[in-house]
Symmetry: C2
Subunit: 341 residues, 2 copies
DNA sequence: CGTTAGCACTCGTTAGCAGTGAGTGCTAAC
DNA sequence: GTTAGCACTCACTGCTAACGAGTGCTAACG
């Protein structure tokens, strides 16, 4: 589709623009090492590339900048993935070598490292607990009208809810409830807990325990709140260092988008696994039409657990970021793999 | 210290400036209803107020703006606390009337409401768990080399850590461990758990359970990580709407500050209880010398639980925000009071 | 003596305008 | 097919002039 020379020129323009954030002119490309053509020739090719939709011109007398389509071609065919540099690799490895005993801490910290190393904004989704299954259930009474319900999943994830207990309930019966729930619900996936509770456990429970309707009711409600997985952000302020966002209004819409956890989550779930690059207008949400979002889901045994993402201007250092995300997501999968087994 | 007229003028200037974000001139004050003086008189007083340090002049031919000292005087002596308006009050009340069964959700949501209602950035510190005491301890085995340790406190707060288990450990012994730990450690404050574990439980445990050294060790480590209370941010992007922060560089330092959870936490803990107003340079951290931070700790029975805060430009709507924070922190205390008892 | 009208002065802001230079598209020659 | 040459465009810079909001000072007023 593109001639070898066109590809070379497109590649040069994208590379230059990523470095400088300024429209690239024909002269500066011609002067590059390894390019044996005059500015005029380059100009002709650039005009062609613009007509094909790979380049854009901010105004008549300016150089060219890549369009979304241009970046897309660059990412798909031209980009040379950089080896992650020694220092960064060391940082990642030493981070994952650390012993940690709180999942949240790990993820939070990973997000921080990522944003620090790239100067972009990192977004990390914690492991999906949706299809975890119940390993253990526990009830701890707090006072005579409430208790904490604790759910431990097969992956070691712990959720807790506060539930109400009828005032006339005999606390010593709680143990019975816990036992019945554990035997009946062990191994059931979280998203089926609620329906299973009502369909199979309710009756059984009623047979052995008095006044359990209210508990059932309260438990049912507690289980309904879908176990939303947490979103960790880091380095949002990095957006402000990008020259394309020196205008406050532009960055405001992006920050608003970042503030909206639900929207953000929607953009992240239902992503195909592996590394995904969404460039500019390819993003579903208008607010980030001037941004690129690169995501990598970390998975284990082919099952996707969660997602790591980086948000930056379309003029992103794809070569560096993609390979870094690759390394990080794989290391993360390994770590969590150890964790789970 | 100040004459009645000076107070009136200072009050007018602060009010005007809070509304308009523009330096206030003598004429506009003179034209206000209820002010019976000519611009010239006002000018004389303004010159005096500037000499006293309450006002500043951005440049010779501009109006005056309040200095930190001016705001301080305003907040201490002049501000008229607005009644929280009907709509807002309704929103707060209906929010707290909702039944919720996850503490984190409540706090997160409260932060959101607060930032939405004020258009400032809200910062909420979750309840301090430091001096909670242990109500129940539980161990759930995950596989043959690790288990989840779960700690429930008297306030219903749940913490969990993953710990290692020696490969040759008999899983059926776990129950013994749990029992011993529960009887020995129930009622012990979290911050004393670790030392208590080593000083009193270790020996006892060794008597009944084989190979427990590694478990002790792992547990000890897990308990050492101080239960940092979580920080919830909302509406960081609101900063970008303030005219004083239309310059990206200024807002960058503030955003960086917000990104640094530890620094932020330090600024929040060890605050006196009640409503605190920190204006401009009164703030410890340089990054927010152009901001005001208003905090209210929510407490129950005189014991401080956590803190709600609002960050905005020094030109903040103190009258509105202070009363709103007052209402919110009290409602929050009531809600958590119900929760805990 | 406090208050006020008048006035010169300051200084940031805006608009207009010429000059500069980077970069282009086109054409004709190599 | 490639390139040198050239006219053209247009953002950007620096300069000047006009504007106006607001001040400080002085002198007059009640």
């Amino acid at each position: 589709m593109l001639t070898e020379r066109q590809r070379m020129i497109l590649n040069a323009i994208v590379d230059d623009y990523i470095r400088s954030a300024e429209p690239v002119g024909s002269r500066s490309i011609s002067k590059r090492g390894g390019v044996g053509f005059s500015p005029a020739t380059i100009r002709n090719e650039m005009a062609d590339l613009e007509e094909l939709g790979f380049l854009e011109q901010p105004h008549t007398s300016a150089g060219r900048i890549p369009s979304t389509k241009g970046y897309r071609y660059y990412v798909d065919h031209l980009v040379k993935l950089e080896e992650v540099n020694e220092g960064d690799l060391l940082r990642v490895r030493s981070f994952f070598a650390k012993k940690m005993n709180q999942m949240e801490q790990i993820i939070q910290h990973a997000a921080m490292i990522l944003s620090n190393m790239t100067n972009y904004t990192s977004i990390v989704l914690g492991p999906e607990t949706f299809d975890n299954s119940l390993r253990a259930f526990q009830l701890v009474p707090l006072n005579d009208s409430s208790a904490v319900a604790i759910i431990v999943t097969n992956t070691g994830h712990v959720e807790n809810r506060t539930i109400s207990i009828p005032p006339d309930f005999d606390m010593s019966e709680l143990e019975k409830v816990v036992n019945i729930l554990n035997t009946k619900l062990a191994g059931v996936p979280l998203h089926r807990l609620q329906s299973k509770l009502f369909s199979e456990v309710g009756e059984e429970l009623g047979r052995y325990v008095d006044h359990c309707e209210m508990i059932m009711d309260s438990l049912g409600k507690a289980l309904s709140s879908e176990s939303e997985h947490r979103v960790f952000l880091s380095g949002a302020s990095n957006m402000l260092t990008q020259p394309e966002f020196k205008d406050v209004d532009k960055v405001k819409t992006i920050m608003d988008w970042l503030d909206e956890t639900p929207v953000l989550m929607k953009a992240f779930t239902s992503l195909p696994s592996g590394i995904q690059v969404r460039i500019g207008s390819e993003n579903d949400h208008d607010a980030i039409h001037t941004c690129s979002l690169i995501t990598a889901s970390y998975s284990i045994d082919g099952k996707s657990l969660g997602t790591i993402g980086l948000l930056g201007p379309t003029r992103m250092d794809y070569g560096k970021v993609i390979s870094l995300l690759d390394v990080l997501s794989k290391d993360m999968a390994v770590l969590l793999g150890r964790w789970y087994k």
